[in-house]
């Protein structure tokens, strides 16, 4: 039993006195157990104008009491558990509650590139989530995967059903290649400079990557992201060990007639357009009514293209920029990606990827990401491989790593300082009460 006696959480609901949960706990509130306080917090979280996740959880068999208790104690209620399904070595995560009364098993499942789900696909997922699980899914998880909660005793069969009935599989957890992610690219977007969806499919099925999907041989995880244009909707620049970002070399395609038309209709203000260019590469010739872009200055910010598309378009000589070593979770803190080369296709990158993965397995310390390996050994670990595997491709000049500390140990005085500031801010926005 937990240290609080488990009561029916709804038994207090009829109580007419509403007890506000504040840092200044009233004598009455202090008498409530953590579970009861937590359940009251959940009631509050269901009231707002935005669709509530608590209401969604209540419609499933999720052990909401565990969550409520954790919320009241400001302490995560879960510990890692171990759970095995035969021949499955990634994609299944197990948790047990601190009091040992509940387990929570969830599957990460591979998603179709671009996360386009046909309704028939999702109805099959629903079947699995209801028959083998608690009826809860995480539809657009940040890992790229679709997450389904399942019962432990049905997990084995659920794997087979996912594989043979739905046509997907569990995977992408642990020290392996995590779920890849591509932007919708040519399926919906006019800015896509290469076929991100096919690229993701190609790399996920390529033997160099595919062979690692069901093992945990790496020091830590590896992530791939595919963005069709420099706007990088998949966050490859900050979160991917291997980022493929569409770009181009050489001049933009400018349709001067169409541009003039856009100027005449007032859709585009050419002076403002030139002014807002981050690298000041644009000049507007008022006499000739012509727009000029100094290509040597352009940094591919897409500023003019977004404002004046399709009068200004990316150039025809399309390239895929390969960047490595970005991540958030790592030994030496978060890092942004480092430039490797401009490629003509993703296929060209495969020998490079294979060799970098090998080097990572050889040199990477436990729980170090590829970026950490670069940080420790210098960028030459990457550039040497690139020289051997990517001959005569335009290279970038990699930037230095920025040290950012996310957490910090604060003294009580510092904590008090910020708490007082926060109090004054709360007063300003929420009034005295």
């Amino acid at each position: 039993m937990s240290r609080n006696e488990k009561k029916d959480p709804t038994s207090e609901a009829g109580n007419t006195e509403t007890i506000a949960i504040k840092e200044t706990v009233t004598a009455e509130a202090r008498l409530l157990s953590d579970l009861e306080r937590g359940m009251k917090m959940l009631e509050y979280l269901e009231k707002g104008p935005w669709p509530s996740y608590v209401s969604e959880l209540r419609k499933t068999k999720y052990p909401i009491e565990v969550y409520a208790e954790g919320l009241a104690r400001k302490y995560t209620p879960w510990l890692s558990g171990s759970f095995r399904v035969r021949y499955v070595f990634s994609g299944i995560l197990a948790r047990r509650s601190r009091d040992g009364k509940y387990v929570e098993i969830h599957f990460r499942t591979y998603t179709p590139a671009g996360r386009f789900y046909s309704t028939s696909y999702l109805r099959k997922i629903i079947d699995v989530a209801e028959k083998y699980g608690i009826g809860l899914v995480e539809l657009a998880a940040n890992t790229g995967a679709l997450v389904i909660n399942v019962w432990s005793d049905k997990a084995d069969e659920a794997v087979d059903v996912l594989r043979n009935y739905v046509g997907t599989d569990v995977g992408s957890s642990g020290d392996t290649v995590r779920e890849l992610y591509a932007c919708p690219g040519p399926a919906l977007c006019e800015f896509a400079l290469y076929d991100t969806l096919s690229a993701m499919d190609y790399i996920r099925r390529h033997p160099f990557v595919y062979q690692h999907l069901n093992n945990q041989l790496f020091p830590y995880k590896i992530k791939f992201r595919f963005s069709g244009c420099p706007m990088d909707c998949t966050m490859g620049n900050s979160r991917a060990d291997f980022a493929f970002i569409g770009t181009w070399v050489g001049p933009h395609e400018i349709d001067q007639d169409l541009f003039r038309k856009k100027v005449e209709t007032g859709e585009v203000n050419p002076k403002e357009l030139a002014e807002s260019c981050p690298s000041k590469a644009i000049t507007w010739d008022e006499e000739r009514r012509e727009l000029r872009i100094d290509e040597s200055k352009c940094v591919r910010s897409m500023n003019c293209i977004r404002r004046a598309f399709p009068a200004i378009k990316p150039g025809r000589n399309r390239k895929i920029a390969l960047l490595v070593g970005a991540h958030v979770q790592a030994h030496f803190g978060p890092k942004l990606a480092k430039a490797v080369a401009l490629l003509d296709s993703v296929e060209e990158a495969m020998p490079f990827i294979g060799k970098v993965m090998e080097a990572y397995m050889d040199y990477g310390a436990s729980k170090h990401r590829i970026g950490d390996m670069i940080y420790k050994r210098g960028f030459k670990v990457i550039s040497e491989i690139a020289d051997k595997t990517l001959p005569s491709k335009p290279r970038g000049a990699p930037s230095t790593h920025l040290r950012i500390s996310i957490g910090a140990v604060l003294t009580d005085d510092e904590r008090k300082l910020y708490e007082d500031w926060a109090k004054s801010l709360v007063k300003e926005y929420f009034g005295e009460g």
Binding site: E23, S55, K59, K74, A140, L188, D201, E414
Partner: protein
């Protein structure tokens, strides 16, 4: 749906991967890579125009925090996609949901139907695109603070920014992560709210034994993972005279990054000292000043569930300053860089300590490494 044949379990070594082509509706397959323009119809509806003259409409819908949906609700959403859409939906990077259809009337009908279910439509252009959230207390073992509840409260307060009732200068993305691992959007989102310990971890005296070797002799051959993962060497695992193993955490060295917590559950902390830090100005897009990490402008704020007034007030203050002073189309990070991060901290009024004293940065990341500036 039960399987009549029982497949050979060893086959599971080869993963089954879903094909995206099977998911795409015909109209998208026909116009694949042939889109030439787009138009916006209100805040959440976008029209994609193909060179063939075909048009599809995307309707962007906000989801509950952490994109958690019960199958009951998901079925209702799928019914809408079947009735008015092209029988396809898309989960976005930023934890939103997109419906795809082939006429504006149907798009408006989808908007009406999802709004009936309580789901908001919006999140494009100069608006709040999403508040991304990690799972935190829902399933996570390392979470310090609970991200979904913070996200819920933020969404409740910031909904008008999502639906477009109140305009913002540019796109705004917020990430709420329960711990320094930053699973929600990382540090490269405009406003990143990160749970952090604010203190050095204390090994649980009874159960820490599960994370360290039992005999001191074992230390001669290998450093235990819990000590090896510490980037500052604050965790010492040592042999005791009686042959058992002890562990110590050096408060002075510790940077509370949580790496040790990733490999061992039995490290404790005081729930009264936990808080969140707020980073401002991160992004990954190459627009403006390019990809960049956020500045830690607020190193610590108390967390008080379920209202989280302190966090909400701080986020609203940041947005208010940006809204009133940014140029049109200027993202938060670009704005902060233009006025200077010190100036921004002054406007915010947050006390400056060793934790948020900034050094100016040169941002030359992402694609800019390929294209040198003159």
């Amino acid at each position: 749906m039960s399987l009549t044949i029982s497949p050979n379990p060893a086959d599971r070594m080869n993963k089954v991967l879903p094909q995206f082509t099977a998911q795409l509706p015909d109209i998208i397959r026909r116009n694949y890579g042939r889109w030439v323009d787009r138009k916006f119809h209100g805040n959440g509806i976008i029209e994609h125009i193909s060179e063939t003259g075909d048009r599809v409409f995307t309707v962007k819908v906000g989801l509950p925090p952490n994109s958690r949906l019960s199958t009951e609700t998901l079925k209702k959403l799928l019914d809408i996609a079947d009735n008015y859409g092209l029988k396809v939906i898309r989960g976005t990077r930023a934890m939103n949901l997109e419906f795809i259809t082939d006429s504006l009337d149907k798009a408006l009908k989808i908007k009406e139907e999802v709004e009936k279910l309580g789901f908001p439509v919006g999140g494009w252009g100069g608006a709040l695109w999403s508040v991304m959230s990690c799972t935190a207390y829902l399933t996570c073992t390392t979470a310090v603070v609970d991200a979904p509840s913070i996200t819920q409260v933020l969404y409740n307060h910031l909904k008008p920014y999502f639906t477009g009732e109140i305009e913002l200068p540019a796109k705004l993305k917020i990430g709420v992560s329960g711990c320094p691992n930053q699973c929600a959007g990382g540090i490269a989102v405009d406003i990143s709210i990160v749970g952090h310990y604010g203190q050095a971890p204390k090994p649980d005296p009874e159960r820490i034994k599960f994370c360290i070797p039992t005999k001191a002799e074992a230390l001669k051959t290998a450093i235990p993972q819990i000590a090896a993962v510490c980037p500052v060497g604050a965790i010492k695992v040592f042999g005791k005279p009686d042959g058992s193993v002890g562990i110590e955490v050096d408060d002075k060295k510790c940077i509370a990054c949580g790496r040790c917590k990733n490999v061992c559950d039995y490290l404790d902390w005081d729930p009264n000292k936990i808080g969140v830090a707020i980073f401002v100005g991160g992004k990954t897009s190459n627009t403006g000043t390019g990809p960049r990490l956020g500045y830690k402008v607020i190193p610590w704020l108390p967390v008080n569930p379920p209202e989280y007034k302190e966090v909400v007030a701080a986020v609203r203050r940041i947005i208010d300053i940006w809204r009133s002073e940014a140029r049109p189309g200027e993202r938060l990070g670009d704005y902060v860089d233009r006025i200077g991060v010190d100036e921004f901290i002054k406007k915010l009024g947050v006390p400056v300590t060793r934790h948020n004293r900034m050094t100016p940065q040169q941002w030359r990341y992402g694609l800019r490494q390929f294209f040198s500036q003159a």
